[in-house]
């Protein structure tokens, strides 16, 4: 039985993202950040976006392009310490920022991907980060309820894909990508290499294709921003 070819054009894939969309973006620092999809999103230009990403990249990179274009109204993230622009916009009230502990952010995304409503955890109890959260008693102790974090779109970066949309990531570029691919209503993946079905060992697929909707091939020569950052 053949499987669907999900390859598509960059502009067509990103063109379906409208104003007010909630968008998850993979990556932890540079590795795994889908810079090409983000650049096209800037070109396309929807406004009032909610961006869910581990970090805000660094100035002049990735999420910073969206911030600079005034497209972001809300950022849900674990930290923005490497991007002074994000800190400045947050302090100036130009964007609203929700900080979530990194592993809780990952787990809230995964929870949405798993079709669950939330999870119960003791992380942050006794600290500021527990304030305002719903509580529940289990086995005589108090825990926090962390709600699933859903999105309209996930933009992810893969090292390798097959045409059906099976994805494999390289090294620490995996990070939030597989979780976000599961969590969004529509997952758009960019891949450095796209092979035919059968070109990826089924035991070595990191994101199974049913989680992926659209697949965009990257040019052989990647944008410079994907490279090693020299500080």
């Amino acid at each position: 039985m053949p499987l669907l070819d999900k390859s598509t054009d960059l502009a067509e894939a990103i063109g379906r993202i409208g104003d007010g969309a909630r968008i998850m973006i993979g990556g932890f620092g540079v590795p795994g950040t889908p810079f090409t999809l983000i650049a096209e999103l800037v070109r396309h230009g929807p406004k009032n976006l909610t961006i869910i990403k581990n970090d805000a990249n660094e100035p002049g990179m990735g999420v910073d392009w969206l911030l600079g274009a005034g497209m972001v109204s809300r950022l849900i993230t674990s930290h923005v310490g490497l991007n002074g622009n994000a800190v400045r916009m947050m302090n100036a009230g130009e964007i609203e920022v929700e900080f979530v502990a990194q592993g809780i952010l990952a787990e809230r995304i995964r929870t949405a991907g798993a079709g669950l409503k939330g999870f119960v955890s003791d992380i942050g109890i006794g600290t500021l980060l527990a304030e305002g959260k719903q509580r529940v008693e289990m086995d005589g102790a108090t825990y926090l309820i962390e709600p699933a974090l859903e999105a309209d779109f996930a933009l992810v970066h893969a090292a390798r894909a097959d045409t059906f949309g099976n994805l494999a990531y390289a090294a620490t570029a995996r990070n939030f990508n597989p979780l976000m691919a599961m969590a969004a209503n529509c997952t758009i993946a960019e891949a450095e290499v796209i092979v035919g079905t059968g070109g990826i060992d089924p035991d070595m697929v990191h994101t199974p294709a049913p989680f992926v909707d659209h697949l965009v091939a990257l040019p052989e020569k990647l944008m410079e921003v994907y490279g090693v950052v020299h500080r």
């Binding site: 669907l4 995964r110 798993a114 209503n185 089924p202 294709a209």
Partner: protein, 218 residues
Amino acid sequence: MSSTAKQRMLARAARDITPGMTVNLGIGLPTQVMAHVGADCPVCLHSENGIAGVGGLAAPGHEDRNLIDAGGGYITCAPGGSFFDSAVSFALVRGGRLDLTLLGAFEVAANGDLANWIIPGKSAAGVGGAIELAQKARRVGVLTSHTDKHGNPKILERCTLPLTAVGCVNRIYTDMAVCDVQPDGLHLVELAEGVTLAEVRAATGAPLIVPAGPIPTF
């Protein structure tokens, strides 16, 4: 159910499996639907023990000891298939990535309730993955003989057995008819060739809403 009626039912259900779908077929009758899907139709077959992209049944003598479906049958993996753990497998189901599941039934009700896992008083061997398939697939079809072996209706106004899931069923395929669950009740959509409306009404334990014009056959 005659062999002809059964094949007709399987073929009819197969026509609702459309290109690009990810589909899970329950053990028994539903599994047999696959043979009726066109060989060139791009469909991703999921089995909840951890595969998307089932190729088909393994040829005798060519079974892989590590490659079964949830019913324990030896299968193959299609090019483009993938393996994953049981948590990811059910994430796919609950997370809305399963377009369609076809399931068997003890009873199915006009309100979409499904009972297919336990008959109190007889042994209960566990629910397996049926609850999540029934409750969370984007579309749920039931494949069943229209009546049980005693001739009693399996389609009822309300289920009498403990439910697998509430209001989950969209469409029912039987040897006599295709029916859709709608907010206003159970709609007769198609009649099996050679079966009359009166026969279906007599064999159904719930009122049927019938189309105004001629009823299509399958």
